[in-house]
Structure formats: C-alpha cells, structure tokens
C-alpha cells in the first residue's frame, strides 16, 4: 500500500510552490478543516511503488493474452506518442475552430474511414466505450420509431449468447430485453426468432461473427425478417476484427452499429479503459446520431452540435468523447491503410483456425467442431471437468503459472466449461505453438496430478483469492493500519 510509505510531513516538494496562496476570502464554514488523508510520500517512493505494482500485471507488452472477445493485440507505440504531441495534449475541448483545425481534420478523416470500412452512411465518434455506443444505438432506434409515431414497440431481441451489455443497454433505453436461443450449430434459432418477432419488436442486437466465434450465415434472411416486422438491426462491433475489410455490417443489412476501437483499432485497454465506441448508421437513422460530430464545409472543419442536428439523441459526454483514444485509432488506421485492415481479418482468422486445429489435435474439444472459426473460437472442457475433476477455472489459473493470460472463461454462458480463445493477428506462429504446448502440458498434469492444477496458480503474487469474503466483508478503502 502506498499509504504504508506515508510519513507525516513528507512531500514531493519539487511539485508545488513552497508558499500557499491565501484563501481568506472563503468563509470558514465552506473550507476543509485539515488536508485530505492522501499518502505523504516522496516522489521516488511513489515512482518505485507504482513501478513495482505494474510488475504484478500481465499485459500484452509482456504476455500472450488471448482473452476472447477483447482483441488483445499489439498496441503500436506510435499511436501513443503521436496522440500525445503537445499540440494535441494542450488543446482545450472548447477551443475555437480557428485553433482546432488539425485535431478536427483527424476526427473527420477517422469518421470517413470508419464509414467506409463498415459500409454505413454516417458515423459519430462521441460514445466513450462500447457500452455507450450500444446505448446510443438503441436510443437512435427508439428515436426513429418515436419520430414515426410508432410508439408501441417495447422489446429489443437479444441472443442468449450476447454480451451482458446488450440487454443492459436495451433496458437503459427503456426497452424490455427478450432472449433468443442459439441453435445447435451456433447460428441463431430462426424459428424462435420468427416467433418472437411482432409489432412489439423495436429491434434486434446481434454480434457477427457471434460471441460463439462463428459467422451467422443466414444474416440476410434475419435482416429481412426483422425489417419485415418493422424492427431495426443493431450490430455489436465486438468482433469486427474478424471481418475488417472483408465484409461490412452495412452490406449485411444492419441499420446501426457500434465499434470498439480499443479492440479492432488497437487502442490500449489501459487496465479497463478508456475505450471508444463510435456508432455508424444507415441513412434513415442519420438525423439521430449523438453529437458532437465533425463536418467539412469545403474550406474548414466545423462542429455539428445540437444546434445543427436538432433530432440528435443528444450528447453522451461533456465534450467530444475520448478524443485521445480516437487520435490513437486514427494513427493506427493510417499505418494500416485499407490493405492493412483487410489483413487484420485475414491473419486473425488464420491464427484462430490454426490454433483451434492444433488444440483439437492434442485432445481438446471445440464447441462447434464442424464450423469454421472466426477470429476466435470456443473450447469446452466438459470432458476434463467430468472425468478428471479439473474445470475450466483450474486450467485458466494454471496457464498463469506458464506465463499466459487465460482466455475468457465461462462466457458465453450457454457452452458449459468453456474457454473463449482469441489469439489476434499480431501473434507469431511460434507463440501459438507454445500455447498449444502449455495446454497439452496442463492436460497431462490434470490427468496425473490434478491437485497441482486445482491449486494453481503457484507462482503469482497471490494464490486464489477469497471472492466470497471480498463481497461479504466489504473492504473498499484503506482505513489506516488498524
């Protein structure tokens, strides 16, 4: 704990003026009685403490990180340094257009690129993360129906395999979320969909390739059915990496999409954000896009706000979303170009299909063995759990001992004992081979010395943590040594 280095009166003196300015005009009743209880440490103590903390993390820069559905690929360093140029860092969000043309040019170009790569009519960059993009998307669906006086629509359909954010976003927009089952082949259960569709359907939220790692083959038919019922199609861009530059959501019939730039456009995940979740729409939803957006009038870049776009669903953050993340995505897009984007889909699919095949060869079961993997795939350890008493969690924890971040575990919920594995395009063949070796070794350990796996990890800074205690005896802030 940083607080353990704290001593009364110690300070990082290089950072402040020795004299404190007067506050005498502020009434006593409004002032704080004593300084906030923050750590009192030297600058070096802080630097050493946080450097050491960082070393307790797995990260893309240090470890293979095949966390399914999160696209943990290399985050090019140029994206960080170019987004951090002094001119960009010091630009005030409310600076006049005369002092913003450079930044706005980047935003405009990014809007255009995202429009073309997704096949949508228009794009707004403002949502701060995927979930906020989902919110924006569903809010636009609602605005569209309301503008037509079609107010009886109360349900958003969501596949049972969908990310939890989908139903949660639907509810935040005032809708009921209704689940649609997934068929045995991994595609959506079309009969169930037909039964669920009706005059109450506002729309459907789909991920394609889906969260079970396969391409929804009958997407055109689904689009036809939903549109016929008067609903709209929402595309969750979580898996856009799998099809970038190969297939476009707009061409599949989607009306509105969000993109996770921290996945597909390789902006850093930062230990849990910031992300960026731009939204794209077909022509009929364009008036409702969240503001602000950037336009080009032939000479200058200009902001489009509530004033210019009165039908907009509004503003989702005070300024223009996570601008610094958008700049990083822009740099990435320029480095890759159109051919590089297509290669993202190609090589992420090559890596996933190769890894799946190799893992099957060493005795692991694919959840959908007859299907082509997209950029990710699901293994089920049902057999190992049943026969050896070693479950997916145990495998995941043991992987940490071998220096690999575990894939996503127990998601999607419909596949028992599952691992969702996404190697991404930036991993070399030998790293995939070494992962196969690790999986084979753990399987052997599970057969011969199961306790070794069940007790894992053994080499991390801590062993398995007591989650029940964490939730029951809440300790959410340091309260001193006592």
């Amino acid at each position: 704990m940083i607080y353990e280095h704290s001593r009364t009166g110690r300070r990082a003196t290089a950072q402040t003026n020795p004299e404190m300015a007067e506050l005498s005009d502020i009434p006593d009743a409004l002032l704080r009685k004593r300084p906030a209880g923050l750590p009192e440490v030297s600058e070096m103590q802080a630097v050493r403490h946080y450097t050491r903390l960082s070393q307790k993390n797995f990260s893309i820069d240090t470890h293979f990180y095949p966390l399914g559905s999160c696209t943990m690929k290399y985050n090019p360093r140029a994206c960080n340094s170019l987004a951090s140029l002094p001119g960009f860092l010091s630009r005030h969000p409310l600076a006049p257009d005369t002092h913003s043309q450079g930044f706005m040019a980047c935003m405009y170009d990014l809007q255009e690129t995202l429009k073309h790569v997704t096949g949508m009519h228009d794009v707004s960059l403002s949502p701060a993360a995927g979930a906020q993009g989902e919110f924006a998307g569903v809010a636009m669906i609602r605005a569209y129906h309301e503008a037509r006086g079609d107010t009886a629509r109360s349900e958003i359909l969501v596949p049972d395999a969908a990310h939890g954010t989908n139903p949660a976003s639907a509810v935040m927009c005032g809708y009921k979320a209704r689940e649609i089952p997934t068929g045995r082949d991994g595609d959506i259960d079309l009969d169930a969909l037909k039964q669920a569709l009706g005059p109450q359907t506002a729309g459907i939220m789909l991920t394609n390739p889906s969260t079970v790692g396969v391409f929804e083959r009958r997407i055109k038919e689904i689009a036809g059915l939903v549109h016929e019922a008067g609903g709209l199609l929402y595309y969750d861009g979580a898996n856009l990496n799998a099809i970038l530059g190969k297939v476009r959501p707009g061409d599949m019939g989607f009306d509105v999409i969000h993109m996770n730039l921290h996945k597909t456009f390789s902006t850093p995940h930062g230990g849990g954000g910031p992300g960026a979740g731009p939204v794209g729409v077909s022509q009929r939803l364009a008036p409702y896009l969240p503001v602000p957006m950037v336009d080009y009038d032939g000479t200058d870049y200009v902001w489009l706000t509530e004033k210019e776009r009165p039908e907009s669903i509004g503003r989702l953050s005070a300024f223009a979303g996570n601008a610094g993340v958008l700049l990083r995505a822009y740099v990435y897009a320029r480095l890759l170009g159109r051919e590089g984007m297509r290669r993202v889909a190609e090589f992420s699919s090559l890596n996933a299909n190769y890894l799946l095949k190799r893992l099957m060869e060493v005795g692991f079961d694919a959840a959908y063995p007859e299907r082509r993997a997209s950029h990710e795939f699901i293994l089920t350890l049902k057999k190992q759990a049943k026969e050896l008493g070693v479950n997916t969690m145990d495998f995941a924890k043991r992987m940490l001992d071998y220096g690999v971040h575990a894939p996503t575990t127990y998601f999607p919920l419909l596949v028992p004992e599952c691992l969702l594995v996404e190697p991404t395009e930036t991993e070399a063949k030998e790293d995939l081979d070494s992962f196969v070796e690790i999986m084979r070794t753990i399987k052997q350990e599970a057969e011969t010395q199961p306790d070794l796996v069940k007790q894992a990890p053994h080499t991390m800074p801590v062993r398995r943590l007591d989650d029940v205690r964490a939730a029951r005896e809440l300790d959410l802030a340091w309260k001193g040594d006592s």
């Binding site: 930062g270 849990g272 095949k357 300790d475």
Partner: protein
C-alpha cells in the same frame, strides 16, 4: 505487413495444418454476395515516419494558445512521473482484471484510488471510475432514483448553476427511463442556487437535489444549507464537485448534518491533460449503505488461500456481465488508465500539495479578475467567493471579444451568452496555477486593445444580414 509477424513459410505451414489452400478459404462460410471489394475510399497504409510527419503538422496547426478557458476542463501541472509510469506497458496494455492473480498491480492501484477518492470527498466508498463527469452525473441520477425508495416520481432537481453541457448529457442518458430533470434558477446577485425558487418545491416528491461545488460560475454554493434542505424534504443530496477544490473545501461527506449521499464529478484535474476533452474520467462515491446501487467496477480487499492480502473485483452481482438486463448500468469498460494517472498524481501531490495547487488557482483567478476589472466597463457579475473561475461582464459582445482575443492567441474564456442570455455579454474566466502574472498581464493588455478597437470603430463589424 504492419504488425503481422507471419513469414510466407509460416502461412503455408499453418494453412496445411488447417487443411485449406488459401487464407481466403477461411471465409467460406460467409455468403459470397456479402464480401466487399477493395475499399478504395480508405487511404493506403503509410510507414510510421510519414504518419508521424502528418500528425506533427496537424498538432502544430492548432497552436498552443494562452489558455484562460476552464468550463469543465482545466490546464494543470502534471508531474512528469505520472504519465511516464502510466504508459508503462504493464498498465497501458493490460485489461480489466478478470484474472485477479495476474492483475494485482491494477487491482491494488484501483483500491488505492478508491481509498484516495473517499479521503478527498469524505464519502465511505468509491467505484473504480465512469466515463467522465457528465455521464457520472447521469449515473448518479439513476442511482438516486433506485436508492430513494420513498420517492416514486422519478424527478430530480437540477440547478441552472450546473454546467449546461452536464445537464444536456444527463438528459440524453436518463430521459428514456422516464426520469425528469426539473431546473432550479439562480440568484442574479450571488450566482448561487436561488433558495426561494427551491422553496417552491418543498414537500414535493423528488428523488434528489443536485448540488454543484463550485458551481458552473465558479461560485461556492451554501452546501450545508442545501444538503439539509434536501434531506428535510425526503430527497437524496447528490454532490457534484471539482476534486481539486475538494482539497481545500469542506468535503461532500461532511455537508450539513449527515453529509451528501452521493458524490460525483469530473476527474480531469487529477492528472489528465486537456487533450480535446478526453479521455478524462468520472468519479462516483457514496455512502456505504448505497453501495449495492452503485454502477461500475468496485475493488475489494480480501485474502488468498494462505491468508495473504490481495485484491479482487467485488459486488459483481450488480454488473451487466452477471445480471444482464437487471444490472445497475450497462457500463463495462471504464477509464482505467486515467485512474492510474490520477492515483499516481494524488500520491505524488499529497493532500497538502493539492491544497497548494488549489489555492494557487484560486489566487491567480482573483488576480486575473482584478486585472481585467481594472479595464473600463469590465466587471465581476456575482459577488461572493469563488474557487477558480469568475463571471465577468464585458462592454462588447462576448463572442466578438473572444474571437478577437483568439486572433491574438489568447483563449479568453467561455462565452455564456448562448446558455445564459440573461447575463448579456458575460464570459467565464479561469486562471490555474500555470497562469502567472505575465500571462495575466498579457491577457489584460490584449483585452484592453480589443475593447479600445471595438469602442472606437464600432462600424468595423459588418452587420449580419
């Protein structure tokens, strides 16, 4: 191939293992008619050197004007160590700590962050961040509506002294759940919430009163009185505060008899550069009894199998990945990296360091205000103490003045005439600890010239037909 390590041999070997003859075959489940051709509208790739040249030119284009603009984003000193540490790959390229044992760095840091935020705000608990201050306010509103079980109306009292952009964001986010934000006016003399306007709602059903400190005009509200009033009328008190101001002002947890119930705000002053408005981070703190209504990630301290202390995500049953449609919010990814910076920032500055910084902002703004008010017909609009912003009335239109100042490479402040037309030609100015006396003198002398030019040659402005 940028960022793709495969050699031609690798590709052939991998295809052979898969049992296909080309990469394109891997897409054979996708109907042919859906495949797209080359996307000619997207530019071709460029090497880093060329992208670098492009970005440097664009960054230069925006100049680096002398900034007296605040209005929710403030130009502060950030210790060099903050971002050098924050961009270490182990922080920068990790994700949400789902595997706790391999993420103790991020988890402990977030626990330290929660500890520092509760110390700063005087609240019991903090989450691990939301997107920004405005969306944090929206989440606080939703939280209050869930938590105040006595209130059935879904109505919230929202003062006009709150940032106009925050009010708009809150409206966009909560409106679809039938929540109504009712505006309360301000006192034209003091710039504080108009208590007589508030009094007309006494006894009515509202879930919460939002109390900004400082408010959008920079003015300090009578937070004790307002908190008491909210509680006396069955409402929760939602504090929305500047975290830097909290280092010198009475913390939200101590307002009135019982303290505010929820405290939220914009974390930008804690280590985030201006950077065009983001990424910043929203913070959200509350009293312990409301913790299960709080959205977002929360980190708890616990022990491992050997009884050794460790940190883990906790109370996940509130969250979308467990509760799906019944979650407290749809938030998943938040602003982890910004919180990393903020934590390191707060650790290095310490409580006293932040006080010096806050007091310097206060002092510089008063110096700026005095300097500008020495010019003819420039006057401070509201009486009474402020934190680090002030509303000034100008003898010419705010738009013209700010435009002319910008031409001199000075960002003179925020134009209030769109959101507060009744204030006429008023601007909101701010001088942080970075704006020294020379900067202030530069602003004063340029404003003097702008005023002189406008007053002497009023016809210079073409009528806008």
């Amino acid at each position: 191939m940028p960022f793709i390590p495969h050699t031609e041999d690798d590709i052939q070997e991998m295809l052979a293992v898969i049992g296909v003859d080309s990469i394109d075959t891997l897409f054979d489940e996708i109907p042919d008619e859906l495949r797209c051709d080359e996307l000619k509208a997207i530019p071709a790739g460029m090497p880093e050197m060329e992208v670098s040249r492009l970005m440097q030119a664009r960054a230069r284009e925006d100049g680096q004007p002398l900034c007296f603009l605040g209005a929710g984003a403030y130009d502060h000193h950030i210790p060099a160590a903050v971002w050098q540490l924050t961009t270490r790959g182990e922080f920068y390229t990790a994700y949400t700590p789902y595997q706790a044992e391999a993420s103790q760095g991020t988890l402990q840091l977030l626990y330290e962050y929660q500890s520092m935020m509760t110390a700063l705000t005087g609240m019991d608990v903090s989450n691990a961040s939301l997107y920004d201050g405005a969306s944090a306010l929206a989440e606080a509103v939703l939280m209050a509506v869930r938590a105040n079980r006595k209130s059935k109306s879904g109505r919230i009292l929202m003062p006009r002294t709150l940032h106009p952009l925050y009010r708009r964001v809150a409206h966009s986010i909560v409106r679809n759940q039938g929540i109504e934000l009712v505006e309360v006016g301000y006192d034209g003399k003091t710039g504080k919430i108009d208590t007589s306007a508030l009094e007309q709602y006494a006894g009515e059903d509202f879930a919460a009163l939002v109390i900004p400190q400082p408010n959008f005009f920079g003015v300090l509200e009578n937070v004790d009185e307002l908190t008491e009033w909210a509680h006396a009328n069955g409402m929760l008190a939602i504090a929305i505060v500047n975290p830097l101001a909290m280092s010198i002002l009475k913390p939200a947890g101590e307002w009135g008899e019982d303290g505010a119930d929820i405290c939220c705000g914009e974390g930008q002053p804690m280590g985030a550069p201006l950077a065009s408005g983001g990424p910043y981070f929203g913070f959200l703190c509350c009293r312990e009894k409301l913790v299960r209504q709080m959205p977002g990630r929360i980190i708890g301290k616990t022990v491992d199998l050997d009884g050794k202390p460790g940190y883990a995500l906790t109370l996940q049953a509130r969250e979308q990945h467990i509760r799906r449609s019944k979650a407290t919010s749809n938030i998943c990814t938040n602003q982890g990296l910004m919180v990393t910076a903020a934590t390191i920032h707060m650790a290095i500055m310490g409580g006293e360091g932040l006080q010096h910084m806050a007091a310097a902002c206060h002092g510089n703004t008063e110096k700026l205000s005095q300097a500008l008010c020495s010019l003819p017909q420039v006057e401070s609009v509201f009486e009474g103490p402020v934190f680090h912003e002030r509303v000034l009335k100008l003898p010419l239109s705010a738009k013209d003045a700010l435009k002319a100042l910008a031409a001199h490479n000075v960002l003179g402040g925020f134009d209030l005439s769109d959101d507060y037309p009744e204030l006429d030609s008023a601007i909101l100015v701010c001088a942080t600890e970075l704006r020294g006396e020379e900067d202030i003198e530069q602003y004063r002398s340029k404003l003097e010239r702008v005023i002189a030019a406008q007053v002497q040659t009023p016809c210079q402005l073409k009528p806008d037909w």
